[in-house]
């Protein structure tokens, strides 16, 4: 599925084609909020104070137009700013960096398609749904409007693929999904997908996207393959663990379903693949999951955080912290593509932080306000400081 890519070049030749975009994204690194900014933000009393504080940061232009601020409007303005920067970077790139950046957007396209399908099922208005779509993964307006018009049945999905999705970059993932489900469920294509929930479709599409991206990155070779490969492996493992964890208490955890359906959701890349995945297939409760993860030291620590009674941090917080640590490391070396992926993901984390802080202030829950993961902070545990 991935196109054959030329090498990005090593230390001596990378800058020919990709020196400018790489230097641009590294310049944008200085636009992240600092420890002092976060400190001021957590001291704010109202949302207008937050806006005042943000007017000195890089978000000044983004927030200048809005009259009053809510957490939702802050999130929208911040995401729009990220998308503008991403598109600016994308226009400066050439192959194979442009394909790499397109791969980053496919994830959001999958989310948008699923959002539109799910919204159609619950009968929401198409315009509201399009408003909610992530701007990085937009299709043409006409394509998006036609997605919810397909019926939620096997024939409907097949039609959806044939007429709409086949031309989009996420078409191949849908094709593989339809093919594999048809193979697996037997020859009767009519029954395909009737019981399958939207969540399973989404997990499968993300799995195919991860595998495709990993394959592409390994073709590129060099530092990009090393660093980006590591980031994607960790992402795949996070997905596998979350799928297992979320399946407890749902029909997916039945022994019959486990071997068949849940196994097919696990990505075929990652540190847990293949040995850990085959163990995860048989896991039926949290205790067994804990025992499997004990064998993998990098996940044992995060799991213990969750298993130790929840407390301050959930397992999602543990994953976010570990992700931020790895993504910051992508900025430590030059002449590779992983900085672009790291920039998008770290900016998303920053947006999550801003929304968390503003929600806490809106709801006057000051004791919860420090539960965010700052980016490029001097106080983070892996830089030797204590978390404030």
């Amino acid at each position: 599925m991935a196109p054959k890519a030329s090498s990005p070049g090593d230390l001596t030749t990378f800058n020919i084609l990709h020196g400018l975009p790489e230097a641009l994204v590294r310049g944008m690194r200085s636009s992240f909020l600092q420890d002092a900014d976060y400190h001021h933000l957590t001291q704010c009393e109202t949302l207008d104070d937050i806006r005042l504080n943000l007017s000195e940061s890089d978000y000044a232009d983004a927030l200048a137009d809005s009259a009053t601020m809510t957490p939702a409007s802050l999130q929208k303005a911040a995401i729009d700013k990220l998308v503008t920067e991403f598109k600016y970077l994308r226009t400066q790139t050439v192959e194979p960096l442009s394909t790499f950046m397109d791969f980053i957007t496919y994830e959001y396209m999958i989310e948008n398609v699923m959002l539109l399908l799910k919204g159609a099922l619950s009968g929401r208005d198409i315009n509201d749904l399009i408003e909610q779509c992530h701007p990085l993964g937009m299709f043409k307006e006409s394509t998006m409007r036609s997605i919810p018009t397909f019926e939620n049945s096997s024939k409907g999905y097949a039609d959806l693929y044939q007429t709409v999705l086949v031309d989009t970059p996420v078409g191949p993932y849908f094709a593989v999904f339809l093919q594999e489900t048809a193979q697996h469920r037997g020859s009767d294509a009519r029954n395909v997908l009737e019981e399958v929930e939207i969540e399973i479709i989404k997990s499968s599409l993300i799995k195919y996207w991860l595998e495709d991206f990993t394959h592409f990155v390994e073709q590129l070779g060099g530092d990009t393959a090393t660093i980006m490969g590591e980031l994607l492996k960790v992402r795949a493992d996070t997905n596998a663990i979350n799928i297992t964890l979320n399946s407890f208490g749902t029909p997916l955890n039945e022994p019959a379903m486990r071997a068949a359906d849940r196994k097919r959701l696990y990505p075929a890349v990652g540190h847990l693949y293949p040995a850990g995945i085959s163990m995860l297939v048989d896991v039926q409760d949290e205790e067994e999951l804990g025992r499997v993860l004990e064998l993998f030291p990098q996940y044992a620590a995060i799991w213990n955080m969750h298993a130790g009674g929840g407390g301050d941090k959930s397992i999602d917080d543990g994953f976010y912290e570990r992700d931020v640590q790895m993504l910051e490391l992508a900025f430590e070396s030059q002449m590779h593509f992983a900085v672009f992926y790291a920039y998008v993901k770290l900016k998303e984390q920053e947006i999550r932080n801003l929304v968390w802080i503003s929600e806490c202030i809106l709801q006057q829950q000051k004791d919860e306000i420090n539960k965010f993961v700052p980016v490029f902070s001097h106080h983070c545990p892996w830089r030797g400081g204590k978390k404030h």
Binding site: L11, T12, N15, I16, G19, L20, P21, E22, A23, L24, R26, G27, M28, R29, S30, S31, Q334
Partner: protein, 193 residues
């Protein structure tokens, strides 16, 4: 000598490698030395300039203050090209044509000085050219990192500049050795008396 006469009977035979090498004009060797010295130095300088220039332009978009300071990296790369030009000018001035035109050089020509000049200038050119490629690329990569780091933290500039100075010194080694090698080389212009 008796052996080869038994082997080779044609009138075009030669006496082995020594005859091949001595029949290659020393002027040819010297001119190639000039070409290599100049050409390879320019390749190194250009390589370094586009390595550092692309990063400088990109990083300056978000941090315009780095524009002027980081041109020093480009100047270091340019210096390696200047070393090549200096060497080429020195060598070219030593290549002199004989006073009297003739098909063959006289028997009492200063063949020692003649061959010494040819080989010496060739090796001087290679010394300068190859060291300047290495120096240029090295300064370029260090300059690229310097521009990006300076955009984040202005105090890093001077520290990384020291790395570039060391990289630039490699080119100086080349030209010093090249000058020493080519110092005693001059082409004779008249037969020995």
């Amino acid at each position: 000598m008796a052996d080869y006469q038994a082997v080779c009977k044609s009138e075009y035979c030669n006496a082995g490698w020594s005859e091949v090498l001595t029949h290659m004009s020393a002027y040819g060797w010297a001119s190639f030395g000039v070409a290599f010295g100049l050409g390879l130095s320019i390749v190194g300088a250009a390589w370094g300039i586009w390595l550092t220039g692309s990063s400088l332009v990109g990083a300056a978009v978000k941090a315009p203050r780095i524009r002027s300071k980081n041109l020093i990296s480009v100047i270091f790369c340019e210096a390696t090209a200047i070393y090549g030009v200096i060497m080429a000018i020195i060598l070219t001035n030593k290549i002199k044509e004989p006073e009297n035109a003739s098909d063959f050089l006289d028997n009492n020509w200063d063949y020692n000085g003649y061959y010494y000049a040819g080989y010496g200038m060739f090796s001087a050119g290679l010394s300068v050219g190859l060291t300047n490629i290495a120096s240029g690329v090295s300064v370029g990569i260090a300059g690229s990192s310097c521009a990006i780091a300076d955009a984040q933290d202005a105090s890093l500039f001077v520290k990384i500049l020291i790395v570039e100075i060391f990289a630039s010194a490699l080119g100086i080694f080349g030209i010093i050795v090249g000058i020493i090698q080519s110092n005693a080389c001059t082409f004779p212009i008249a037969p020995l008396q």
